[in-house]
């Protein structure tokens, strides 16, 4: 009998809910935990991003300390502590031990975190690789107790599991401290924690960061300004950006009684007139009850929105870094001859406003035979991985840099002594994956980045041309100057002037030459009081492996030398 049962019944026994946590267990690379080195960085990044968001939201000047302790060869303890507003007791387990829990996903506002995955993913990774629980301490004010939690994630249910819970003494007025044990690998150089923290400090001058690496001295990035960045404003979604699934969800949750008031209340840039027009274009009555709208009707509504002309979303909700700060950051990090930066007017993709900023540091200490360096930022967070698949990279490649004095092969990054910074600020930065490493290729974004690059490029081109011109002029003057002594010598023979008169002739000619050719502006001179040599060196250390290889080779050649000598003696 059992044999005659349809196979589907048998198969159905194996089919069940996949918890998001189990999904992550198998797909941790999607969240940036693909290798031990990156896992360590991602964990710190998530914790620091959360701290910064919390401080800024609460209007508190952030002071964050990061400590990485090497427990064994591949096990590390990470401690991140902030002076933010803290988290109320009830929420602590949910924020740290439950995936996709958070406030940021549901609102459109420029913030570092977006999904509510980051820190809980780190907790899960910690749990998976070391079996240890996460330790959280948080305090919301001087008169409130500090709560300490030991937490695990129940990966089946995606629910927090509280191992320990107690009130502790904490000298801080308020703030949050996260302590995680995880498998990792610590390396300096490119894509290192050092580099990430440095770039964060550069682009967030209102932040103080204290960093204790596993080896070596503590690093301190002191804040450069007491002024907090303008607080981003939360906005409602713009109708052009809404998709059918989200629209259905919104229709279910709304308090509005009619479609027209739903449109006006839940979306930005929709007034009574626009709302009526949307309804008309969707062939739906304005007084339709939102809850009664089914899938087919929702699809009509989407079509109707597309047909209706709706003004662009408000853009004052975005808080760019600003040209000055961007350039100042570059000056600290790179000793160059020429800097420029630009903040573009806001643009819109899929109904989401965004702002592109770009800055250039050209010449100086930078080598001219390598592709330019690109520093990418999204909502003030440095992006260190997957440069190749990022919209910023694509925009750089698509810009014709030859016009601006750099060399560039088709479809490649330009080559020259230059560092480029690009920042995208948006209420919703479209990343290519949950690990938030590369920006998705929206044509509007690529176009806007290109415009920013071109604007910087034009200024650069003027400078490079001017430099070339002045170099040429200075060469000319040097050439002319070499003949001045001959004029003196010839005059001496011709009209018998004295030695001192001959010297005078040479001096007078030099003066007359300078006067007739005008002042020679000095270019290419590095005049950069903001440059911070120590800071610049952080994250640029050679990987230790390379050094060892070098030594090995030297030893080998030594041995060979000795051998030949011995043979020679024989």
């Amino acid at each position: 009998m059992a044999n005659n049962d349809p196979v589907a019944i048998e198969l159905a026994k194996m089919q069940r809910d996949i918890s998001i946590a189990s999904f992550f267990e198998k797909n941790r690379h999607l969240l940036g935990f693909d290798n031990p080195r990156k896992a360590l960085l991602t964990t710190i990044k998530e914790a620091v991003d959360n701290s910064l968001d919390a401080c800024e939201e609460a209007d508190m000047l952030p002071e964050i300390s990061v400590e990485v302790i090497e427990m064994s060869e591949n096990k590390f303890k990470v401690i991140v502590e902030d002076n933010g507003p803290g988290i109320i007791k009830k929420q602590i387990p949910h924020i740290f031990a439950r995936l996709l829990y958070g406030s940021k996903f549901f609102k459109l506002s420029q913030s570092r975190g977006q999904q509510g995955i980051g820190i809980s993913a780190s907790v899960m990774y910690s749990q998976l690789t070391t079996g240890k629980s996460a330790k959280i301490t948080s305090k919301i004010g001087p008169k409130y107790p500090a709560h300490f939690y030991k937490l695990r994630i129940d990966t089946q249910k995606n629910k927090p599991e509280i191992i320990k819970e107690e009130v502790v003494e904490w000298e801080k007025d308020h703030g949050t401290k996260v302590e995680l044990d995880l498998e990792g690998s610590y390396q300096k150089g490119d894509q290192s924690i050092d580099q990430y923290l440095k770039q964060t400090a550069i682009i967030n001058p209102h932040v103080t960061l204290i960093y204790q690496p596993p080896k070596g001295e503590q690093l301190m990035f002191a804040r450069a300004t007491e002024i907090m960045p303008k607080k981003p404003r939360e906005i409602k979604p713009h109708p052009y950006g809404v998709e059918i699934g989200k629209l259905i969800g919104m229709l279910k949750l709304t308090d509005s009684k009619t479609l027209q008031s739903f449109l006006m209340k839940e979306f930005s840039r929709v007034g009574p007139g626009t709302a009526k027009q949307v309804c008309e274009n969707s062939f739906l009555l304005p007084n339709t009850k939102p809850r009664s709208i089914n899938r087919e009707m929702a699809e009509k509504l989407i079509e109707g929105i597309k047909k209706t002309k709706i003004i662009s979303p408000p853009t004052d909700c975005i808080s760019p870094i600003g040209e000055d700060l961007l350039e100042k950051g570059l000056r600290k990090e790179i000793n160059a001859e020429f800097y420029c930066s630009v903040t573009r007017p806001p643009g819109v993709y899929r109904g989401n406003p965004f702002v592109i900023e770009a800055g250039i540091a050209y010449g100086g200490d930078q080598g001219s035979d390598n592709p330019i360096k690109i520093m990418r930022y999204a909502n003030r967070v440095p992006l260190l991985y997957q440069q190749g698949s990022c919209a910023i990279n694509k925009s750089v490649v698509n810009t014709i840099w030859r016009n601006y004095g750099l060399s560039q092969s088709r479809g490649a990054l330009p080559v020259g002594p230059m560092t480029l910074v690009v920042h995208i600020a948006s209420v919703w930065v479209p990343f290519t994956s949950e690990s938030k490493e590369a920006i998705a290729h929206y044509p509007e974004i690529i176009q806007e980045i290109k415009r920013a690059l071109q604007e910087c490029g034009r200024k650069l081109g003027l400078y490079v041309n001017k430099k070339r011109r002045i170099k040429f002029e200075s060469k000319k003057r040097d050439y002319i100057r070499t003949f001045i002594p001959h004029i003196g010598a010839a005059l001496k023979d011709l009209i018998h002037i004295s030695d001192s008169e001959e010297k005078e002739v040479e001096n007078l000619l030099a003066v007359a030459l300078e006067r007739s050719r005008g002042n020679l502006e000095e270019v290419g001179v590095i005049d950069n009081p903001d440059y911070d040599e120590e800071l610049a060196a952080i994250g640029k250390e050679k990987k230790q492996d390379d050094d060892f290889e070098g030594e090995d080779q030297e030893n080998n050649s030594d041995k060979e030398d000795k051998q030949t000598t011995l043979e020679g003696v024989k």
């Binding site: 070499t482 001959h486 007078l508």
Partner: protein, 365 residues
């Protein structure tokens, strides 16, 4: 006489030196102005009979493109001054080697030093011998009924040189001809382009038969050669006939330069030209009339013809020349003097020259 001339030149060099010095003292950029030596800076007036400057100047001062030649010109002036003061001379080649002491202001190739020398000469409006420089090239050769009266280098006594007595050889025109005197009963001067044709005429005593003076120019006549013919012709009222290859070079470079001078040395054309010269052959018409063996014109020849018609004030003045050159341009052939040998080696003596000399309508102006 010599001394006085020299002191004039020295005075002018001094003046130029002081001018440069004064402008330097005034903290100005010193500059040297000199006539532009080019066809574009000459005009042709048949009344005067030679290319005259029309006053375009070039300037050298402290710019990247002129500083080197500016310094070189001053140094060249100093060298010239030294030569005149010590009554010495330097060949153009020697002057080039002297410049090797001038470090970065030295000349890399002799044409550069020749140019600076010529500019200096033009600035002074004198002939290069007067500023102490002499060319290396020979001045041309003479055979025929002429006695040249020169001076003994040591005693200063006159020496009579009889140009009939060189046998199969010839008298060489010296570099400086200004002091020479002449005695002759000849009826005309025949200036010949090639040494080969000159040899044939000498060998067969052409000058004896026709009572003339033969001059071998050997290509474009040197200044000495031009001046020699001019002085001889003026002195003895002798007509001058010119016999060259039938090609644009023979017309535009050799004959034109002999008759009216060059653009390059326009500042001295007044003395170094022979306005009374007439061109007897080989004309483009001769090539047709005598059925001469010819060579096709090369691109450079065609270009030269076009250039002559378009830019040479002398050719532009004479319709006959334009016609002749257009004729050659269309026929696209040229013929050498020696091509006459097709009709017999001595055809040139027995037929061609007598016929041509008798018939002025077959000449070109």
């Amino acid at each position: 006489m010599v001394k006085k001339k020299n002191s004039l030149v020295l005075g002018k060099i001094n003046e130029l030196g002081n001018m440069v010095y004064k402008s330097i003292k005034k903290k100005k950029l010193p500059e040297l102005k000199m006539p532009l030596r080019a066809l574009s800076n000459v005009k042709y007036d048949p009344k005067n009979g030679f290319f005259e400057l029309i006053g375009k100047m070039k300037e050298r001062t402290l710019t990247a493109s002129t500083i080197k030649t500016f310094a070189q010109t001053l140094r060249m002036m100093a060298l010239s001054k030294e030569l005149i003061e010590q009554d010495d001379i330097a060949t153009k080649r020697e002057a080039y080697y002297v410049s090797k002491n001038w470090a970065e202001a030295r000349f890399n190739e002799q044409p550069e030093s020749d140019t600076v020398m010529d500019d200096f000469e033009a600035m002074m409006m004198v002939n290069r011998e007067q500023i102490g420089f002499i060319p290396e090239e020979k001045g041309g050769e003479i055979a025929g009924r002429l006695i040249v009266i020169d001076k003994d280098r040591d005693t200063g006594k006159p020496i009579k040189i009889d140009c009939t007595k060189f046998g199969s050889g010839a008298y060489s025109i010296p570099i400086s001809v200004e002091e020479l005197k002449f005695e002759t009963q000849a009826k005309f001067i025949l200036a010949i382009e090639t040494a080969g044709m000159f040899q044939r005429l000498v060998k067969h005593n052409y000058w004896k038969k026709t009572n003339c003076i033969l001059v071998s120019m050997g290509g474009v006549p040197t200044r000495a050669c031009r001046r020699f013919i001019r002085r001889l012709s003026d002195d003895k009222k002798l007509p001058v006939y010119v016999f060259t290859d039938g090609d644009p070079y023979g017309y535009g470079s050799i004959y034109r330069t002999l008759k009216v001078g060059s653009g390059n040395a326009a500042h001295i054309n007044k003395y170094f030209c022979v306005p009374q010269a007439k061109f007897i052959g080989v004309t483009p018409q001769d090539i047709v009339d005598y059925k001469l063996p010819s060579h096709p014109l090369k691109d450079v020849d065609l270009k030269k013809i076009k250039d002559l018609i378009k830019n040479d004030p002398f050719i532009q003045h004479h319709k006959e020349w334009q016609k002749a050159l257009k004729h050659m341009y269309q026929s696209k052939v040229r013929a050498e003097q020696q091509a006459l040998a097709k009709h017999g080696l001595n055809f040139v003596i027995s037929d061609y020259l007598p016929k041509k000399l008798k018939n002025p309508t077959s000449w070109l102006p």
